[in-house]
Symmetry: C2
C-alpha cells in the first residue's frame, strides 16, 4: 500500500423493517425515519445513523446510533451494504456502512409506529420513503429490493459454468463448492422442481449413444450475480 490515503469519514445508517398497517388498513413494510435538526439537509427525513467512534465496532456503532435516535434495540443487526460514492454527502467524502434488521410489530410499538411522529421519529411505508436526506432514497430502495429478492432462491452455480450445461456439470459445481457428494437423482429432482434451469433442447456433443441434455439458467434481476446480485446496480 502507498502513502497516506485521502481523508474519508466513516458513518453508519440503519434500515429497520416491520410489517405494520398503513393508513389504508393494508399491511405493508414500514421503516423508521428521523427528522434532521441540523445541516446539511436540516428538516429533511433521514435514516437513523451517525459517526463511528474510535473504539467501537461498526455493528456497535449501528446499534448505538439506532438506540439513541429511535429507542429500538433489535436482537441483531445485519450489515446490508456500504455506500461510498464520492459525491453522496456535501462537504467532504463520507462512506456509510448500512445495517438492517426485521422486527416484529410489537417491537415497533412505542417508537412512533403510528401516524403521529414521536420525538422526531416516524414509521413510514417503505414505498412512500422518498425525498430523504443524502442518498437515503437509494439506500432504502436497495434494502427493500434485497428483502423482496431474498424470499426467492439464490442462483449461484451457473456463474462457474458457461451459458449451457448438463445437469451432471451443474451437480459437479455444487459438489466442488459444498465439498460433499450429492445424490444425482435427488439433485435432478430438486433442480428441475425449482424452476432455476430450463432445457435448451440441445444435447452435449460427443460419441455417446444418448448425450445429456443441455440446460440454461433462468436469470432474473435478483439472480444476475453469483451471490444473488447482493448489491445495488453499478
Amino acid at each position: 500500500m502507498s502513502a497516506q490515503p485521502p481523508q474519508i469519514r466513516v458513518a453508519v445508517s440503519t434500515v429497520i423493517f416491520a410489517l405494520l398497517p398503513a393508513p389504508d388498513g393494508e399491511i405493508r413494510v414500514h421503516l423508521p425515519l428521523v427528522r434532521r435538526t441540523r445541516d446539511p439537509y436540516a428538516g429533511a427525513w433521514a435514516l437513523p445513523g451517525g459517526w463511528v467512534c474510535a473504539q467501537e465496532s461498526l455493528s456497535d456503532a449501528g446499534r448505538r446510533t439506532l438506540a439513541e435516535t429511535t429507542g429500538l434495540r433489535p436482537s441483531y443487526l445485519e450489515q446490508l451494504y456500504t455506500f461510498g460514492h464520492p459525491e453522496r454527502s456535501p462537504g467532504g467524502r463520507v462512506v456509510s456502512v448500512v445495517y438492517s434488521a426485521l422486527v416484529r410489530n410489537h417491537e415497533a410499538a412505542g417508537t412512533g409506529a403510528g401516524p403521529v411522529p414521536v420525538d422526531n421519529v416516524s414509521w413510514c411505508p417503505v414505498d412512500d420513503a422518498v425525498g430523504l436526506a443524502f442518498d437515503h432514497d437509494e439506500i432504502v430502495r436497495y434494502a427493500i429490493w434485497r428483502l423482496r429478492s431474498k424470499v426467492q432462491h439464490a442462483h449461484v452455480a451457473q456463474h462457474f459454468l458457461g451459458e449451457r450445461f448438463s445437469l451432471a456439470q451443474l451437480r459437479e459445481v455444487h459438489e466442488a463448492v459444498l465439498q460433499k457428494p450429492l445424490d444425482p437423482a435427488n439433485f435432478r429432482r430438486q433442480v428441475e422442481g425449482s424452476g432455476a434451469v430450463v432445457p435448451t433442447g440441445e444435447r452435449l456433443t460427443g460419441g455417446r449413444h444418448r448425450p445429456p441434455q443441455l440446460y440454461r439458467a433462468v436469470l432474473t434481476p435478483e439472480s444476475a450475480g453469483p451471490f444473488g446480485r447482493a448489491g445495488p446496480p453499478s
Copy 2:
C-alpha cells in the same frame, strides 16, 4: 451528527474464486493471493487490495487494485462485506470494503493460476489460505462460507413471524413483502417441497372445525438471519 469523527482510513480488498485443479488433481475452489513487499506483514501473503482514492467509487477502487496487483479484470465485482474491527490493522484504524467475484478458469490462466507464483501472485486452494496478513484469514473464511451457503435457499419470511405459523400466515408475509398475491396451492407445494419448514404436529387454536397445521422453520447456520445470515458471526 456531532462534531468531527475520529480518523479512520478506508481500503478495499478482493476475494476472487475460481474452480481449478489442486496439486492432488481434485477440482477445488482457489483464490489469488499477493505476497506483501512492505510492512506491516512484509513477506506474508494477503488479499489483493489498496487504499481508496479521493475521486473513485469503492467498486472502482476494487477493480483498479485487483487489476494492478494480479492483472485480473472480471466482468463485475460484487461487494461482499465491510470489515472494520478497531484492531484489525496495526498502526491506526482501517476499514476495508471487500469485493468478490467468481471467474471461469480460463480467466485465471496467465495470472499465476498454477503451482508456481507469477509476479508475487499465487492461486491458493481456499482451505489452505491460512496465516495471511491482517484479518485476511477471517475475510477468506467468510467469503467461502457465503459462497457455500448461497447455493442453498435463503430463509427470510419466518423472521416476521413467531416460531410457529400456519402456511397461510407464511404466505401472507411473502405476499406483503413481494406485493403480489400468491396462489395458495402452488405456494403450499413449493414450501413443502423446499424442506424449509416442517410441521410441528400442533394446530392453530380456534373454533374452526379443522384448524390449520402449525409449522416451524428449519434453521441452518446459513439461514439464521433474515437476509440469510449474510454476515460473519458477531
